[in-house]
């Protein structure tokens, strides 16, 4: 689109920015992660992570984050399909309606879920009113997943919605004319075309779900520790930035691996390779 010179000029502000505000803090973190109190190099922090059983928490976090991401994906696809077929011209308004709940402070809305799910919460009060059995919902893994899906669903809906609304109608019609049924149309045409959006969405849901601690603290009752809670506690209560940073580094490696995996499935690779 541009020549190399313009391209490099355009990238410069970002590179300066990234150097100062992304790399320098990153160096701080890695530095703390591999040193001990006296500033000597040590891998003891990483050893402590294994010793203290924090890997179990990491496993639980990955599980819950994965479940939430899949749930968001499964909820968002039909939703976006319905929305895009219904109102082609009101795209911005619909995306606004889905981003609107996000404007409620997430701490407040998560607390509202507490009010809904508690033993004496709104759902159970309602069940009692109808003389139905009550449920135990709060302080379970299910409640945490629900909180994650609630908080992060819009991050999935937005990019998916954008890529769906950009698909040319005529392509879909052509597929239909060529005899594709709805399933074929979805898997052969829509899915490949919306994959970049879906991958953006997966990243935007998976990462915050993996690092959250507010949701698990409020809806998990403090009995279910996620990796985010542990990092939070290492930093605050323990004031042990070394272990906290080491954990963050491990978490980062984990997420980067994850992203390499998702980019491996990126269908846009051909489009980019033409340069």
């Amino acid at each position: 689109m541009f020549n190399k010179f313009t391209r490099n000029i355009l990238l410069t502000p970002f590179l300066i920015w990234a150097g100062l505000f992304i790399f320098v803090p990153l160096i701080f973190i890695v530095w703390y992660g591999v040193t001990d109190y006296d500033g000597n190099f040590s891998l003891g922090n990483i050893g402590l992570i294994f010793e203290r059983g924090y890997l179990d928490a990491l496993k639980l976090s990955v599980e819950l984050a994965l479940i939430s991401t899949v749930a968001c994906l499964l909820l968002a696809y039909p939703l976006c399909l319905i929305l895009t077929e219904r109102q082609r011209d009101n795209t911005t308004i619909i995306s606004l309606l889905f981003i609107l709940p996000l404007w409620m402070n997430s701490l407040l809305s998560t607390m509202a879920w507490q009010t809904i799910l508690e033993h004496n919460g709104i759902i159970n009060q309602f069940m009692k009113l109808l003389d139905l059995p009550t449920f135990h919902m709060i302080n379970t893994e299910g409640a945490i997943v629900l909180g994650m899906v609630y908080n992060f669903l819009p991050y999935m809906v937005l990019p998916l919605f954008i890529s769906l609304s950009k698909i040319d109608r005529s392509i879909l019609e052509a597929a239909q004319d060529l005899g594709a049924n709805s399933w074929q149309k979805f898997f052969r045409v829509i899915l490949p075309l919306t994959l970049p959006g879906a991958i953006s969405g997966i990243t935007m849901v998976f990462i915050p779900a993996l690092t959250t601690f507010v949701i698990s603290a409020l809806l998990g009752g403090g009995k279910l520790l996620l990796i985010g809670n542990i990092i939070e506690q290492e930093f605050t209560f323990q004031y042990d930035w070394h272990v906290g940073c080491a954990l963050s580094v491990i978490l980062m490696i984990f997420i980067i691996l994850n992203m390499l995996l998702t980019t491996a499935f990126d269908p846009m690779k051909e489009a980019g390779d033409e340069h």
């Binding site: 203290r52 924090y54 403090g222």
Partner: protein, 354 residues
Amino acid sequence: MKFKFLALLMLSCLMFGVAGCGSTGDSGKKEQVYVYSWGDYLDPEVLKIFEQETGIHVVLDEFDTNESMYPRVAEGAVHYDVICPSDYMIQKMIGNNLLQPLDFNKLPDAKKYIGEEFFKQAETFDPGNKYAVPYCWGTVGIIYDKTKVTEPVDSWNILWDEKYKGQILMQDSARDALMIPLKLMGKSMNETDKDVLAQAQEMLKKQKPLVQAYVVDEVKEKLIGSEAAMGVVFSGEALIILQENPNMAFAVPKEGTNFWIDGWVITKDSQNVDAAHKFINFMCRPDIAVKNFDYLGYSTPNIAVKDLEENEEYKNSPIAFPSPDVYKDQETYKYLGNQMDEYYNNLWMQVKVD
């Protein structure tokens, strides 16, 4: 057209921002004091009176835990003058040379109105009473729902009763959690013997299936909403819960409890030492202390407050103004050093990860 709108919006907020900066620049001329305190820990009215009387502008900043306050002060991120940490944190800050000794000649009201027994208790974390003036204090106890718990509550033991499975709320912090089994075993809450601590941890692990949730500040709203049959709470919280939910009752277990004190301290690098002393002295004045007490509900070490208090319910509350037997001979948390701190936290983490 949309973009024009956005541009306008951004332009207007740029002005907003600049105007905001301008106003903070102006207040630089007046004498100021930077106060860093617990969230919602003083009556906003009081600050206005202070400003009117002394002409000193109070810049109030708030923290939610001692631990989130500490790095901001220790790293020198912001130069605060007056801070209100808790007992063990005051000791830690003294130890790390972050505080300066107070000049009690500038604090006549502190000497006059703060109860002697509180200064005496404060010696456990501030030997010689050089650094801190007590502001609020309290105990930790069990609050329980009288409709669900019929037997008398006088021991921490009830928190291990299978009958109340899923009905117990525990405090989510290493020291507060371990304090309970340690007291049950008849040990000090500042125990450093690792075998004893391991036993205490074992008890907490055994209790975990019975616990509904490990909570911090949410405990109040959960108990006001009758979510659980009992919970471990601070006495100040208990007062609020009792007012909102008359089915509840509060008991301090016979094995002993934590006698906590939050106190005013002045930082080492304070640039408004004089104003800082004026502020602390002002907070000790009886009419001001009453206002704060009415706002907060936490017990005050100020001996003049009870007589001035007009709300009969508060005045006669054994929780707000307990008899001296309740807190006599109780222990206060001490700072046990970085390593021991870490050990405690790790024990507690293991209980939660388990």
